[in-house]
Amino acid sequence: MPTAIVFEPSSQPATAPSPTAEPGAAVAPSPDAAFEPGPKTRPASAARPASAAAGTGLVSPGDAAAGAEPDSPPRPSPAVRRAIYRDMVLTRAFDQAATALQRQGELALWAPSLGQEAAQVGSAHALSERDWVFPSYREHGVLQSRGVDLKQLLPLFRGADNGGWDTESHRVHLYTLVVGAQALPAVGYAMGMALDGAAEITVLYLGDGATSQGEASEALVWAASCQAPILFFIQNNGWAISTPTRTQSRVALARRGEGFGIPSERVDGNDADACWAATAAALARIRAGQGPQLIEALTYRAGPHTTSDDPSRYRTAAEEAGWAQRDPIARLRAALQADGQADADFFADADAAGAALAAEARRGCLAIEPPRLDDCFDSVYASEHGLVAQEKAAALADGVPEAGVRENAR
């Protein structure tokens, strides 16, 4: 069996063959210019001296603490760590409230982010306000970190809209449910940033399952070809519904990036400090003109794929229990306590804020107004389209919007 990601819980940090092996692999000189590679950027691995992290691709904030490496990854300040912790707690509280709302029949579906808070919140806190996020559909922690009111997620999962929030206000694109379909638009958005000459970066969130989509590979091709300012942040949570990562890939996902000419590394996705550090370092490389970067964050989808899923049919309780011991919130809490960076009041306050957000989620969910079908005709086209007016008139003649209400009442 060749190298494969085997997702067993372990007390050891997950490791993978170095994604940055042979960083400067020479391209044989060719007399034909067509065979020459495009402008080559320096691989990330070449930017740093060899370190313990370089071998595994894991970024450890401990490296920085040792102070041995001038070019070592940055480390989140105490204030950033506290902000990350608070957003992780808020995300989990909201996520659990939404899961409960689905169980009570108030949401049609929910995709829990449980267990992935460090990967999501840790990475998102490394972004600047000017950067843009293209999420998948489980990035609740990213949205919380960007300042998006998470209640705006609920209409999508209640069946009241198809996911519309003001993307500009927090620079977060809409959720995308077609797995991986946001990848190419994200690259295009980054191409636009480059054309604008803006010092901005697009951060694309993908899952392990999405990396099997052809469009994900195409996005890597395009990003490399255009040297677009984009970070591919892959949360490898072990499972794509029932399909383990080893079915998706026979190599570490981080190694995929290298094949496309994109410097890549693997990070412990349950270590918020490491996720922040790796993301901050990758964004710095992109801002320095080193082209697109890729991070694979190893984490675990502690809950079901969605509330419609039953993980007990395809994975063991022992596996889940093992990962529960590596809970990212408990881990950061312990680190903050050990480093003396947060006191009991801080933790109590975060928990209280989480409880308040959960209550707000519940109130917000119940207050969602059902949409009207006749309104849907107004947002399909920005310009006049003759058929829309005719069909809207037909719908009104059919008794819309009350027709469905009568139907449901029967």
Binding site: A181, P185, G188, G192, T202, S379, S383, H385, G386, L387
Partner: protein
């Protein structure tokens, strides 16, 4: 030529007439792209081989030299990438014009077009505009190998959120290109590649002026002379209603010349045919079709795409619903058969030409 093409709804007002060069349909698109690129720095042209080569049909020739490689972009070979990145560029405020090299190669982009491009505006509650133009050379009669002669327009017209148009002449090709780029919604232009070199006079207008996007909604009436009919008369009472020897031929893109040729042959037989250039397949101008059928009582729809679930099926259904009692015969359709596009040596048997159109008219008249 006894056929007069009347642009009934065209804007007659405006600036003093510019010289009208005779351009091929492809050259007319090139002219429009140059106009749009010059007028708005947010306009981009992107696709496989559109830059240095100028496109496999040379439709984008000279644009890269004039506007630079950043704005006329040779892309990697991937249609999903072309459309997918165009979506992102549009979200960023650009107005990308994508070229899909051939009709049969659009399918790798089908998911991006139907699941993202078409839906994002509606999903965002109308907040997001996607001004993306996708140009697709399509249709047969060029003797090409497989996947190079197809007519997949119905697949896109079926999807809410897209506009689908197809010009039949250089003037429309020019105007539709500018109108599509100016349109805040995604527009797919199916360009009849077999007509790329068919020349016609093109009013290009002063640089920087774009036609009203409403041009994308309009059908154009082309009238064939028949008994009691003077060429060039739009509407009126010229048709000899008493004899019942009249018919509407509705067509678009590469089928328009075929319908006009059939109308010529019918005129020689004393049958007056009114030819409607639909121009748009989403939305179809049903009002224009109904109005014409009100005069003729018979309708034959012509397109290269397979008849089954094609645009003609929708037109037949709607017209039957809207003006059943005006019809003297069932609406008939002439188009491709339910086959994968056949080898080029027999494509003329597959494509709707004047003989099949005339035969269909005869069936309608004999009903």
């Amino acid at each position: 030529m006894s056929v007069a093409v009347v642009a009934a709804e065209e804007n007659a007002a405006g600036a003093p007439p510019a010289p009208k060069p005779a351009l091929g349909l492809g050259a007319a698109v090139n002219q429009a792209l140059a106009t749009a690129l010059a007028a708005d720095e947010k306009v981009l042209v992107m696709g496989e081989d559109v830059g240095v080569l100028g496109g496999v049909f040379r439709v984008t020739a000279g644009l890269r030299e004039r506007f630079g490689a950043d704005r006329v972009r040779d892309t990697p070979l991937g249609e999903a990438g072309i459309v997918g990145t165009a979506i992102g560029l549009a979200l960023r405020g650009y107005r990308p014009v994508c070229e899909i090299q051939f009709d049969g190669f659009v399918f790798p982009a089908f998911s991006q077009i139907t699941t993202q491009l078409a839906k994002l505006r509606a999903r965002s509650g109308g907040r997001l505009n996607l001004p993306v133009t996708i140009r697709i050379p399509y249709g047969g009669r060029i003797g090409a190998v497989e996947h190079h002669s197809e007519s997949p327009e119905a697949l896109f017209a079926h999807t809410a959120g897209l506009r689908v148009v197809s010009p039949s002449n250089p003037q429309d090709a020019h105007d539709m290109t500018l109108a599509a780029i100016a349109c805040p919604d995604p527009v797919i232009i199916f360009e009849p590649k077999g007509l790329y070199w068919s020349k016609g006079q093109v009013e290009t207008g002063p640089e920087g002026t774009a036609p009203d996007p409403a041009v994308l909604n309009r059908a154009r009436v082309a009238l064939a002379a028949g008994p009691g009919r003077q060429p060039g008369q739009a509407g009126g009472t010229g048709l000899d209603v008493e004899t019942g020897q009249q018919v509407t031929l509705a067509a678009y893109g590469p089928s328009l010349p075929q319908a006009l040729e059939a109308a010529e042959q019918l005129a020689a037989q004393g049958i007056a045919a009114e030819v409607l250039d639909l121009r748009a397949i989403s939305p179809i101008d049903f009002d224009a079709v109904e109005e014409s059928v009100g005069r003729t009582g018979r309708l034959v729809v012509v397109h290269e795409a397979p008849v089954y679930f094609g645009a003609g099926a929708e037109i037949a259904a709607r017209i039957t619903e809207r003006c059943f009692f005006l019809l003297e015969a069932p609406v008939l359709r002439v188009g491709g058969y339910h086959l994968p596009y056949p080898p080029a040596l027999i494509e003329r048997d597959y494509l709707p030409g004047p003989a099949r159109i005339v035969a269909a008219v005869r069936r309608a008249l004999d009903f």
